[in-house]
Subunit: 357 residues, 2 copies
């Protein structure tokens, strides 16, 4: 085994320069993710900054202005009215899923690039409208799949493409967490189908192994099958307190995946090939330690590496591509494929049959 | 976390005495598994011994008599004719799957206890006949699920039953190997549906995560869904060079599993609960090192323990239960449930729909 295969992480294989004007962001939606993860990531960054924050809650947005580099607090209406558009270059959208579209449409109208959280929207139809709005206005749209700029995941993708594990055969992926311990509110939007879309666990968590498998395999789903179950009272409006799903990819690889918003926080991601396997565990949630292991035949090499701030990697990539006119990889058309797969997964769970894509 | 939860393996919680006459075995079928694993396990054991070996190949059986404690070599016809029945107390059956029934029927006729390899037979119907033959003759029938006497698996079952990880939510299981590297013969019986049954990977390997999940959860499959694929020429007669399958258990737990006879040798088994998870990896194939990890909330404890000879554990358990008139746990009725689940998995893969049990 070539030790270099594991030890030489090219942390930013996409980076050609850092010599450009920072990208100024309007942060739309000030939930815990934006406040605890996204804004700090831009504060950490040399090429991104948060200048505008947008929330329905004036108290919350003014508090964020006090605490961060942001200088302007807008209400949603003020944002839609085009206030302060000279103070930001791009928009990060992290509202409830079903509200993404309207903010992206306004951003497109103001000629602002968009970084939109996943899942893109609450339905395929609304996600498609988002893509079309950005294409019509010729603004860049990136879907915030932070795994695609995670160095270990990018390295895994390279290794698979180079044939390091032979031909890919199987993918195993899972993500689970205790949503109600993280956000102790049974009325939160992630449990409301009107705001979240068709479910709670696959849309929000299952999308990680699904999209990471697509990225690492460079393949798209051809068919899915799924089981879902909700038992806890708090999950009574969504079908998937817990779910398993299988994916048949268009390259023939099969995946066995799962997701739960009401189970111990854990996750794994493993690609098994004819000659070896690559696993990253824990993978999708933030953890201090991260292990990356490559097996080839009877040999095994493990690398524990220091975790990068995944949101900073993502923001910096987005800024770099905008400023260098580079192609943006997880774009809206890419995200649409996941939206279609998610709808198929819920359809399969409801109907008890395989759904082809 | 209670460190004792992990460190105090009761290796043999079933053992009450070793003070009994050893059980003498006739080994039926002298493939590599019997010669390299089963006979050496009995040689290692204080309570089991191999006295008779049965094979169609007289040269092979006489070679085994030369090399081992076995004293008598029988052909299959001689075995069926009841030769040397005073030289053995029990029969271990490890022929191709579709031949199990006839040897078990003869063993039952001779009033010999039976330890039969998994999968029990090539079809539910033949497995049912096996169960009935043993019940009619009132002889003990154990199906050789070596995970059920593996100390770590038994400990995992205890921990789950004690609520150590809260309520079980998800199971992840996988087993894969390179069959054609282990046995470089494309005409081997495991790839011949007439001898192996409906497939090659789920029947032979997928049965490990399936049965281990049943054992650890103390639950049975209620519905399954599966994808299967064969591409390599050597697998053209079977549907499942690789397969994924989901299981909905009757306690509500969902499982995401996979199996392949043509992928890197690896495997995992993980039970995720509301409060924690237990994982054993590697698990199903023999490995020098074995890791057992328990996570509870943010705490994690790992135990690396010396692997036990799983076949010796299994043989010794079987002998102990026979000599002490104890109940045998993985009995024929238990094995039948797996046979039904296996047939449902292949039906699901062929039909593209969920199959209920």
């Amino acid at each position: 085994m070539d030790a270099d295969a594991l030890s030489t992480f090219e942390r930013r294989d996409w980076e050609t320069t850092t010599d450009f004007e920072p990208v100024r962001f309007a942060m739309v939606g000030l939930g815990w993710w934006t406040r605890d993860e996204a804004i700090p990531a831009t504060e950490d960054s040399d090429v991104c900054e948060t200048t505008v924050v947008v929330s329905s809650d004036r108290g919350k947005s003014e508090e964020v202005v006090e605490e961060t580099t942001a200088e302007t607090a807008l209400t949603y209406d003020e944002f839609h009215d085009g206030e302060a558009t000279d103070e930001y270059d791009a928009v990060y959208v992290a509202t409830p899923n079903a509200a993404h579209l309207e903010y992206v449409e306004s951003a497109a109208e103001f000629d602002k690039a968009v970084l939109c959280e996943k899942p893109m929207e609450s339905s395929v139809e609304r996600a498609r409208r988002m893509v079309e709005a950005c294409e019509d206005a010729d603004v860049s749209l990136m879907v915030a799949y932070r795994m695609q700029t995670e160095p270990a995941v990018r390295r895994a993708r390279e290794l698979v493409a180079d044939g390091a594990i032979g031909d890919p055969v199987l993918v195993h992926g899972s993500m689970s967490q205790r949503l109600l311990e993280m956000i102790p509110d049974p009325d939160q939007w992630r449990l409301d189908p009107n705001l979240a879309g068709p479910g709670a666990s696959v849309t929000d968590l299952g999308i990680y192994p699904l999209n990471t498998a697509r990225f690492v395999l460079d393949a798209d789903p051809a068919a899915v099958s799924a089981f879902a179950r909700s038992e806890d009272e708090a999950f009574s409006d969504v079908p998937d307190e817990v779910a398993t799903f299988e994916v048949r990819f268009d390259d023939g690889t099969l995946a066995a995946c799962s997701a739960s918003q009401n189970a111990h926080e854990t996750g794994h991601f493993k690609v098994v090939g004819t000659e070896g396997q690559i696993s990253i565990e824990p993978v999708f949630a933030g953890q201090a330690h991260r292990g990356f292991a490559l097996e080839l035949g009877e040999n095994r090499a493990e690398v524990d590496y220091e975790e990068q701030n995944q949101m900073r990697e993502e923001f910096d990539y987005f800024a770099h591509q905008l400023r260098t006119d580079g192609e943006i990889h997880p774009d809206g058309r890419h995200g649409l494929v996941d939206m279609e797969a998610l709808e198929a997964i819920y359809e399969s769970a409801a109907e008890g049959s395989v759904v082809k894509l």
